[in-house]
Amino acid sequence: MAIKTKMFLSSVAQDDFSRMRRHVFAELEALGHEPVMFEANMGPWTHDRDPIRQCLDAVRSSDIFLLFLKDKAGTYRQDAKRTITHLEFLQAFTSQKTILAFVDESVLSHYFKRAKRLIAEFTATYLADYRGLPGPEQLMEELSRDKELPGHVDPYVWFFLDDLVQRGIYCEPLSSGVSPDWKSYFSDLLRRGTLLLPLARDMDQNARLARQYADLTELASSLVNTLHIGGFRQIDRFLSVVRANIKSGFISKRYGEYIEEDVGELLECTAVTLYRQQDGNMLLQGKTGAADGEPFYPVEDQQSFVSRSYQSRGSGDYLIFYKEDKKIFYFCIPVKEYVMTLHFPAGGTWTAQTFMLFYEDIIHGIIDKNPLLLELIELILGGVADA
């Protein structure tokens, strides 16, 4: 027996939406689906049941989330700093439901013509001033001051719409009095679903392989940790392979879940060096690329980033050095008696000031782009140092 598609209808309890909601409910039911709507079939409402929780549970158990948005924001929950409709949307999004959003065409047009830019500008200014994202209340205050946005639209609606757009939800313009062409929408959904459904076995196989990869990376780390490694056979070749495989690129700073800002670029790694401590000196063991370091540095040399990194060994910290006159970042990996350094030229307009603001993001960016390679380097250097 076929299982019906459960569709949750979400919108503000707005007078001119009531008729449309009833109409949509009836239409979907007539098409053979199972619509779910607060005022129609979400009971029974017992005194011990939180209605918001009941709505969110209904969203979670649905297959499709249909959102209708016009000029009213609905009930704002101070504790969640979101409206109830927005919370329903967030539940659908985090549960990875198929979301179809329909927004009043006039509201959508004003959003794209003005509100979107105002929000972006205010967010950028706020970020620069406070290094964090503005909350909905600050944004609403700012938007309510704007004279060109239509006054009958609640400012929260712009914030909500912006959240939809930032999360990559396509918003379909909704004309007043015209119902969406459900048959076309569901025919398109059917087409998309039927493209994927025959691949179910491949997707299952890929998921199994991905899980094996995750297990293997953790297993390899545990096992290599238990070995003594004899030493380097071709140290320059080892460093060349590291240099060829290390990834660079844009460094971004994340603010919350969906907002990130590119703060600068690290160009392709131009050199890798490896030094080892012996008798109070850091001795060059090998190098590849355009490194112009000395053959050795005294361990106490405060000017040398190699010596400085060696002094911090055992702390578990990775260090990043920057010289503005050379425009190069030196990413140092101190492991026991070794210090490996990766040289990344600075792309764009890095300054001492931006380095100070974002040095941790640079380290995290390099690590996040190369977790497996860096972990392997650390394990190998640790193993060689113990030999």
Binding site: A2, A207, A214, T217, Y318, K323, A352, M356, I363, P371
Partner: protein, 65 residues
Amino acid sequence: MHDGNVYVIKDGRVEIAKNGRQPKDAMLFGSSRKTPAQALREQAERIRQSCSFVQSRLVLATKRD
């Protein structure tokens, strides 16, 4: 070592860099506690969660009553 500060090496001395107005030839540095092992663990956890989710959806998408 990691204390949230950026340091500057000038004339053989190391001091906390108080602002971005430093000589061009000064060497600035900072550190972080994040390790590749930690990044790998996070990545592995994300992969496992995603696999479980995809597989649970596949079960729902292919089952028949």
